[in-house]
Assembly symmetry: C2
Homo-oligomer: 359 residues x 2
């Protein structure tokens, strides 16, 4: 078995066009530390907001999902006519118990004009970052003025990213944590120590919600769960509903949806995957891009309950991929993969293979 | 800029589960020479035929296409419930004139049970191989008995692979070549010298067709072309129509379709992309998998014209990916990419990132 990253010299030398920059998990972590995580969250939020402003320009489709009993594997493509991007992502809630990630991902950016890939990257870490950046960008538009406290229900892999994004982008100062597993809460609290946030572990979801203007639900269970009951949701809050993100997976009691103004990414996908899958097909929602461009109001009243029914949309991944492509320029936070066969005469693919025969 | 394949030691050591085997272009060529190209074509044809026999079991969808004025980028996913595979592929006919490949590709296989990728590989060379293997597998079932001569119209990147597959799988002995560019014909003839095939360069498509029982069209132009006119197609031939493979891209005059029995891969995709896009939506076709399982007859008459309206379907890529995964076991024809973030505690993705901070 080869050691990673060290390889005998190849038999053939690939040309420039054959090479695709690859950002490994290790490189992504180096990049995060180089930029700083809160700065990166702010940067991603800017890139995502920029692309939400150009929403109509994008080639949009619900993600292409392959479901099994234990999870889902999805491809999430989109294009702005100049670049094409997609993410591969899985969602397997049962994975945690087997020592694996519930969600892993990788992504690719390509040049529309040539069809050639220009970036391949890990996207497990990057997805956690872009999901948190999107949540915070939306909360910036929808949360009540002066919101400074967030309830974080579900303290798994996404929770610290969500917390730091809310701090960096919305000025949140206090996080109230709850998870059905106290070890998860302890992990999250430990990780957030020293970040400047006040972190309050709570013993029940009701306790976590006390005094919070932003309620984030981020649990992982492929079922119609009720993480928040109708009772628990007071007027004026902003709900950031992250965990429900595929058919058969929801977190909120339907009564909450009836009392809220619901904001979504791409309705055709959210109607299949989001909290609103519990509602009739014509249940009224507002598209977040229209709030961001100013075409449609967001929060209009202090007492209004706003709900971001987040499922994750391809444009957010596209923004993240653009950001990574821009950030790695002139750095060594990537290495190049010999991934695209590129014969000198493009019609002579066979000849290239023939000439590679061992002497 | 890093030299390909040589890298400083990473800051962090990825665990096993983080690593995804990657077959580079260089590795794929080494594998082709190790197995032998004709053997590899026969092996691929067997894997593809095996999966066509299990057709009903697969999760099938038309490929997800993103079109631009100059080409298309597609994702082609499928799953047999145990493994999930997809290919990324572009088609940009104008690329040749710019020194780039019309078609480049890469592919991925993943474990359905965990959602984790288990193989990433170049698929430009592999696509040429699997397309040729599929064409020959189909011709084995449909071409007239004793077929020994193929007309190869379009002598670009696919042509030598098609020719060798027909030799290896169908016993074809003679290839008659035509291309609108005599340099392409010369290239193909040169490459096929010494393979045991009799190769006859021709000055017109009519000359190429003389005495051929199998007619392969493999041209690249995003338009409704007429590579074969109705006049050119005599009774009893098998037409292997490779080149037309997306909306607005066809090679055969409609009259030919009316006189032929048309065999397809996955009708919903072929009706959008194949020669049959020129016909009414209810134009009768036969699904090739049903011929292979013996449910439906293929060629029933010497005078019948059979037409394989090939567009390329995800199951063929899946078969090819399975084959590569099986072939690389125990070899060094791959190296491992640190692509999947894999913290020791799956809920502690953030902690893993934190611990990677430089000292």
């Amino acid at each position: 078995m080869n050691a990673p990253f060290v390889k005998d010299l190849p038999m053939t030398q690939p040309s420039d066009k054959a090479l695709v920059p690859f950002v490994s998990v290790d490189n992504m972590m180096r990049l995060v530390h180089h930029v700083g995580i809160e700065q990166m969250l702010r940067d991603l939020s800017d890139y995502i907001e920029t692309d939400f402003k150009r929403w109509e320009l994008f080639d949009k489709t619900p993600r292409v999902a392959s479901h099994s009993d234990v999870g889902v594997i999805e491809l999430m493509p989109t294009s702005d006519g100049e670049a094409y991007g997609f993410k591969y992502v899985n969602g397997h809630p049962k994975n945690t118990a087997e020592g694996l990630q519930t969600v892993t991902a990788f992504g690719l950016l390509a040049d529309v004009y040539t069809g050639y890939p220009v970036l391949l990257t890990e996207m497990t870490i990057l997805t956690a970052l872009r999901t948190a950046a999107t949540s915070a960008m939306v909360a910036k538009h929808l949360a009540p003025k002066g919101a400074d406290t967030m309830a974080m229900i579900g303290n798994g892999a996404q929770s610290e990213f969500q917390s730091l994004a809310m701090k960096a982008i919305c000025g949140v100062t206090t996080i109230r944590l709850y998870d059905q597993d106290p070890n998860a809460t302890a992990k999250c609290a430990r990780n957030l120590a020293g970040t400047g946030l006040t972190v309050i572990p709570c013993k029940t979801p009701e306790e976590a919600i006390q005094g919070a203007q932003i309620l984030t639900t981020c649990t992982a269970d492929k079922q119609y769960a009720t993480i928040l009951t109708d009772n628990m949701v007071g007027s004026g809050v902003h709900i950031n509903a992250i965990g429900g993100d595929c058919p058969g997976k929801t977190e909120l009691a339907p009564g909450i949806l009836n009392r809220s103004d619901v904001f979504v990414e791409y309705p055709p996908q959210t109607r299949i995957e989001g909290e609103i899958q519990q509602m009739p097909k014509d249940f009224a929602v507002t598209e977040m891009w229209q709030v961001i461009t100013g075409q449609t109001p967001g929060r209009t009243d202090d007492r209004q309950i706003t709900l971001f029914d987040s499922v994750g949309f391809a444009i957010e991944d596209f923004s993240a991929l653009r950001y990574i492509r821009d950030q790695i320029r002139g750095t060594d936070y990537f290495f190049e993969l010999d991934m695209l066969a590129d014969p000198d005469d493009p019609r002579d693919l066979f000849g290239m293979v023939q000439r590679a025969a061992p002497a």
